[in-house]
Subunit: 528 residues, 2 copies
């Protein structure tokens, strides 16, 4: 992948070219104001063969830190990364005006007046006794009924592994997820023009999510009382370096309800009003890939649910593939499609003409588990342990609850879609194979799509009652609007891993409600 | 609709019957422990004609408040509501054992040991200066850049009206939503058997969401610092009564981010790290319809987004239709389908074979706006004001961002589906008509589906540049699992109303970050 050293080096190369400099000054701009980025070229055929290239593009940061909003449209400098020399300069946009920078600077220090709204009083998730999670050996997180290993990874950002949840009856830890992380991000832009067609990023494999994560901003990226974790990564020359505070861990209480029931119809009982607050644990990182920001949350709930959320801070189609090595109660699991089928009734037997029935189909091989989601032909998707049964005889399991279901609409033979072919289905299941970790292939930069999830799973291997990996792709279509300018409000989407007959019953039924006496007493810290 | 007086009366009627009492005692149960509910009959033909009926069913609350878990299966008492007499007793389940009550009581007072997890320290959303919203005249809520009218309604639960958001540049209030509320809930059970086939509830029209809402539980249904609002409703005899504390309003900070950007590639600028916390305003109610609990949230964001969320506390298919009388900047609006279409490129013009293009289709009549959502043929759905343009020439608008997209799979000719025909599409748009307020019809109890949204919109009236109403159905398929027993953890789904070229730019770009000095200092209130 491109390293930070590569990026710093290639963005300097255009300034060695008289042609580039002449093009900048011909546009009436000063070279001192030009900032550049390092887009990857995708792979479109033999032109890219035999060398690592970057398509450097630049903008003017005169009067704004937001040089993405002042692009030198049509000026693309193709640079050989290893030789640090220019391969080609395309300069077709001199007639396109450079937008002004007014109002594009997003920094707080650059604002000259507040936003038009009544002020919001200070509000904070407060924990006078401090957070209730513990972190052992710097990486093992224990909280409520959860235990998991958390680490920063140069390519994946966050890796969760060996997640276990305590059984609500026996108190024993039970395995849920051996390893989970975003295995690839595919971001095709939708413009076939010369300065844009190649923008079909695969951010994890080409740049690295962790590599492009800067220290999180306390109180704003993460709430007070967060625990921050560093990443220890490797630079081009093999030396380690520390990226500090790139993961935060915090407990969340958002005023939500974990379960409730009121009832006035129970004989001999006064009105019943029972409700329980929902408190969760979040592990977060936030990467800045050029003008994109990606926020990655793993949220653990006491009812056994894991929510995997992505929040996105800039435009275009985004597909984020998650590697999920599920180990429900043990290694050997099966993938079950629970299909909702319309049943017609027999005339005369009931006043109803139809009803839904849930039918179970156990996937024997990979082809049985290539799922394109459909709204009018719905299913649930379970990973179960066929050898471990509940008291009622159900295999213990978790289901994937889809969200962010946008699918790629590119032509299957389009070069970017061949490389991003893991988006051809939304769910895939493969037998565990230690060489199959990254949906877009191990070596992604300028790859041709011959080492992807779509290729591996063509072998149609058996997956029943085996150590299986589920791959889920979270998709966003993003059509820009004016509210996205000059930095958009966040957009989020998520999918859930949810217990289904994993517990014998609601595992948090016995949880205590909130009592006022236990909650904090607060004053403003800036008061005397 | 059934009133609370009707419900209390009909659930007493079975106890006047020797046959019913004999059936209870023959099951080995004591009449003193029998609690009953009042399921509506749907409409399945002439049997129901000429009288209002209820199909009373009962369970034993011996040893548990959760009598739904101890049902007298097969015993259905059809009661004439007005005459308060029995029409028919079906008694077919004497051979079916009554499940034991052990472990089914959900009340905190009934628990004998805590749940198996490490304790979670006190955590609370704290506001030492108090909430920043103001409520004028008991109903007009002002907060940040929002102003709207909020009221409790016997049928709809919460009604939001005249919602305006302040323009981020001019500070002027601008209209977004004239009126919004859940117009019907359709809950078909999926069992054609005699004791079950008729359970195809339309909860808003048959019972009333507000009517079945009990006082919210402070600190558990709603966080500290919530404001509580009463409902003033009408009883059978026309007299008003107060249902207290059935709505809460609170500010939410959940550790989320409203926008962020970090950047290391701006020439002449140190590493940039900008992030802003997301604070929102929530209006909530929570109804208990028999063993169901529905939580209804309206969440207002400072970036102009409104999130409409439903949280569900029990089982089966659920379809919640929302009436959304959008008034974007004024009365006359249009509905625009922005269709994402795959474009093939011309060979030789670009290395790309395909890209996506967004094409706009303005709906002329109701038929153009009957939308079945499709994942592989995606669109955005905008409501715009064609007379009000942004500086760049875009009509100002909001889009509906779908969520909870489960569609009904029942046969279109099945009686419950005829009554719940508003679920035949997920989006409908009608011209405003003051007689068309409730998707399932004005009079729903035992209705035949001849006064529903599906019927009105058959007229295919013009909807372009008119005062239009958008109807959105949030759908859940629910296949029960053991974790749902005896009271399930909440499940949630939502859709968004999101500004799209409504503002000239990101309306919260100038918002201030959190600073530590502004946040509270907290101690435990139960410490000396």
């Amino acid at each position: 992948m491109l390293t930070m050293e590569d990026i710093l080096a290639v963005t300097r190369v255009p300034f060695t070219s008289a042609e580039f400099k002449e093009s900048v000054t011909a546009r009436g701009l000063s070279l001192a104001d030009i900032s550049c980025i390092s887009p990857s070229p995708g792979w479109y055929g033999p032109d890219e063969e035999g060398r690592r290239i970057v398509k450097v593009q630049c903008g003017s940061s005169e009067g704004t830190a937001n040089f993405y909003m002042r692009p030198l449209e049509g000026l693309v400098v193709t640079v050989d990364v290893d030789r640090q020399e220019i391969v080609k300069i395309t300069d077709e946009g001199r007639g396109i005006p450079i937008p002004g920078g007014t109002g594009t600077d997003y920094r707080y220090s650059a604002q000259d007046r507040p936003v038009e709204m009544d002020p919001v009083n200070p509000i904070s998730m407060e924990q006078p006794k401090g957070p209730s999670f513990k972190i052992e050996d710097g990486h093992t997180v224990r909280w409520a009924n959860w235990r998991f290993h958390l680490k920063a990874d140069q390519r994946a950002g966050i890796i969760i592994s060996q997640a276990t949840v305590r059984d609500s009856e026996t108190g024993e830890p039970r395995s849920v997820l051996y390893k989970g992380y975003p295995s690839e991000l595919f971001v095709p832009y939708m413009d076939p023009d010369d300065g844009w067609y190649y923008k079909t990023y695969m951010d994890a494999g080409e740049y690295g999510i962790g590599a492009l994560t800067f220290s999180l901003v306390p109180l704003n990226d993460c709430p007070r009382h967060s625990y921050y974790m560093d990443g220890v990564f490797v630079s081009s020359d093999g030396k380690p370096f520390v990226q500090s505070n790139i993961i935060c861990v915090f407990e969340r209480y958002a005023g939500d309800i974990s379960w409730r029931h009121s009832d006035s119809s129970v004989k001999g009982v006064e009105l019943i009003r029972e409700a329980r607050p929902k408190v969760t644990l979040v592990a977060r990182t936030a990467a800045s890939v050029g003008n994109y920001d990606y926020i990655f949350d793993w949220e653990f709930q006491t009812d056994g649910l894991i929510r995997v959320e992505n929040v996105i801070g800039v435009v275009h189609d985004h597909f984020i593939n998650y590697y999920l090595d599920m180990d429900i109660d043990d290694l050997n699991n099966s993938f079950v499609k629970v299909h909702l089928e319309k049943q017609e009734t027999e005339p005369g037997t009931t006043p109803r003409k139809s009803y839904l029935k849930a039918k179970r189909y156990v996937a024997k091989t990979e082809n049985d588990a290539k799922i394109k989601l459909k709204l009018y032909d719905p299913s649930e998707f379970h990973v179960v342990n066929p050898s471990r049964k509940s008291r009622l005889g159900n295999p213990t399991g978790y289901k994937v609850v889809p969200g962010g279901t946008a699918a790629s609409l590119l032509d299957l033979q389009d070069p970017p879609q061949i490389r991003g072919a893991f988006t051809n289905n939304q769910i895939w299941v493969t037998p565990y194979n230690r060489t199959e970790q990254w949906a877009g292939g191990l070596l992604v930069y300028q790859s041709r799509g011959d080492d992807t999830l779509a290729v591996w799973s063509n072998r149609d291997r058996p997956i029943e009652n085996k150590d299986i990996v589920l791959w889920y792709t979270l998709g966003f279509h993003h059509i820009p609007c004016q509210e996205d300018f000059p930095i958009m409000p966040t957009v989020s989407s998520s999918f859930d891993l949810k217990p289904v007959n994993f517990f014998e019953r609601n595992p948090i039924l016995r949880a205590a409600p909130n009592f006022d006496k236990d909650l904090p007493f607060c004053t403003l810290s800036n008061l005397p």
